[in-house]
């Protein structure tokens, strides 16, 4: 494992499988009456959020607390950042307070990379989403969800996603989730197809390790998992598509379309969903939709990542009595 987690593309197949397997161990903790491990006791993690994202921050916070880390939440609003302080100064200020890891969400693509590679700070950096670049823990929790649903909780251990067919639908252009998923799913051996109107695919997508299609209906029967991306209504005003209705008709997932998917296939969504836009309520609320599981799995994955980056060599979960640390 590397010292930081910046991009899903940085993970080898073995790294990724190790994280997924570790996350399964972490998930068992959630089934205990006391959902807490002492692994990161005495370590301090800061959640440095320059962009509003309540879900991701809460997910990281839950993971950190279950590992007994001391947690500092820092949001840009109302802080010195809004008064013009630079990313560098903010990071150095936090490190001076003795932070071991920085979980960063930032609107600028590459901000976590800069934080990790500019010599500004020594702490481990975990990317919690940067601009339209990467969101590696989202890709990991998605892969974890797919492996559980398609292969099985125990049968999946040690396994990658070889041969699984994953279709990602929607605003790929502005999506860090899509980029991270393409990278990680490719590393894990899955076959990825992106489906979007051509306006919402980046120029240069041809070099990505995936297929591209404009035809959702043709792709659905060949999918083991269909991941719907959120499409912001405002995109309509920048001529990415004519109207919300036309988008839904051509690229939205409704009950009829879901029926074309193979029986075992699942519907995923990174949230927050725009019901009636990319996904109908019927699909969102169906048992094939894994949205709520993805949220639960997110905590396990983030625990696994924090443990593997910070926890060193001690076992994450001790199965004997209570843990006595030396």
């Amino acid at each position: 494992m590397q010292r930081h987690l910046i991009s899903a593309a940085d993970l080898s197949r073995d790294d990724a499988v190790l994280i997924l397997d570790t996350a399964e161990e972490m998930a068992r903790v959630a089934d205990r009456p006391i959902k807490k491990l002492p692994t990161l006791r005495g370590r301090t993690v800061v959640n440095l959020f320059f962009e509003d994202s309540t879900r991701t921050r809460i997910s990281f916070e839950a993971a950190e607390k279950r590992l007994s880390a001391d947690v500092i939440n820092f949001t840009a609003k109302g802080s010195s950042v809004s008064k013009g302080e630079s990313l560098k100064d903010t990071a150095q200020t936090l490190e001076a307070m003795g932070v071991d890891a920085v979980v960063i969400r930032h609107g600028a693509s590459g901000a976590p990379y800069r934080l990790a590679n500019s010599g500004w700070i020594d702490a481990a950096v975990i990317n919690a989403g940067d601009g339209t670049h990467q969101h590696p823990t989202q890709a990991l929790l998605d892969a974890f969800t797919m492996r559980r649903r398609l292969t099985g909780r125990d049968a999946g251990l040690g396994q990658d996603l070889s041969g699984r067919r994953v279709t990602i639908v929607g605003d790929v252009l502005h999506s860090r989730v899509a980029r991270s998923n393409v990278d990680l799913l490719h590393t894990l051996g899955a076959d990825v197809t992106l489906v979007a109107p051509p306006t919402l695919l980046p120029v240069g997508v041809g070099s990505w390790p995936c297929e591209v299609s404009y035809d959702l209906d043709a792709t659905l029967p060949k999918s083991d998992a269909v991941m719907m991306l959120r499409v912001q209504r405002e995109r309509m005003n920048a001529a990415f598509f004519p109207t919300e209705r036309e988008y839904s008709r051509r690229y939205g997932l409704d009950g009829d379309r879901m029926a074309r998917m193979p029986e075992h296939a699942i519907v995923m969504h990174p949230g927050p969903m725009v019901r009636g836009m990319e996904i109908t309520a019927e699909v969102a609320d169906s048992p094939r939709c894994t949205v709520v599981e993805q949220v639960a799995n997110g905590v396990s994955i983030r625990m696994a990542v924090l443990y593997l980056l910070l926890g060193g060599n001690e076992p994450a979960v001790t199965h004997a009595r209570t843990t006595e640390e030396k």
Partner: protein, 428 residues
Amino acid sequence: MSKILIRGAKVLGGAPQDVLIDGEIVAEVGDGLNAEGAEVVEAAGKVLLPGLVDLHTHLREPGREDSETVLTGTRAAASGGYTAVFAMANTFPVADTAGVVEQVWRLGKEHGYCDVQPIGAVTVGLEGRKLAELGAMHESAAGVTVFSDDGKCVDDAVIMRRALEYVKAFGGVVAQHAQEPRLTEGAQMNEGVVSAELGLGGWPAVAEESVIARDVLLAEHVGSRVHICHLSTAGSVEIVRWAKSRGIDVTAEVTPHHLLLTDEMVRTYNPVYKVNPPLRTERDVRALREALADGTIDIVATDHAPHPHEDKDCEWAAAAMGMVGLETALSVVQETMVDTGLLDWAGVADRMSFAPARIGRATGHGRPVSAGEPANLTLVDTEYRGQVDPAGFASRSRNTPYEGRELPGRVTHTWLRGKATLVDGKLT
């Protein structure tokens, strides 16, 4: 002023000759010239060029003296072998009146390191709406002949047409920063394979090419000359080549960094590579080099763009666009054009001195190294190789993309009208 004998220099890369400077003038060029009464500069093995002329420099004064001043910028110029620089108009206040251009011109004269020829804004405040007083700037002491809204494109086709027409009255030229604004909203880097991966807003080649295509056609229609700033794409090269073949009076420049660097560098998210127009692809770099060699691109211009450290020591999106270039330009041109066999030193003299002086009508610059000409000269140790160390820059800013990179060539001497501004690599 006394006499200086430059002994045994390869004039424009040719056979070794002696060059005698007397006062402000080149007195004699020949073999075995009499050194009596002259200070001798031994120049065996070195190449003597006409003083370099930069048609595209940002000196930042007035307004951003924290990044550069006329003094520090002209010292950087002398250090890089330049004897004349054209100072871009995007200062604070904007150089859109006779008063501002005269101030910049006077500062250059007072400091004496390099002639400073101000460029006037095309439109008031660079806003693209109303023509600045182009005639007044031309008639001022600064004698402005080049007009540019550089940093912003003269986007409005009618304003561009009028500007092209208007400056004909006094032999001026409009230098266009070709960037279609709507296609480049939020643009952070070249749009292509790398931007798709990095998730940075794309600056498509077509945003440059479409404006160049429009402007060469406008220039043809109204019978004006037009200059295209910092060409960066293979497509732009094709359009300029086509325009020239039609007899359109267009000239074009390329920066040293677009001859050497590609958008692959952006993978580091290091804003030192953030520049406008952005670094393009390997294919573009090849096309630009070939076009500079065959004359489709007329000149090398630095687009020297100093920025304070804090404006680059940050995340990519927050960083300023631009690179310093005066002190590394000749080395980059040697690396990309001379050492690759694409251009000889006479060609370098043309692209970096004769042609820019001609386009900008810089009197007394870009002249042949021969008797009776102004002694604006640059002596280069072309055998030298060394790592770029920004700490040694004369510029106030350090935002170079070449830190630590080994480059060939080093300017050892620069003379401005017979007065040494740089001796053995040290500013006087």
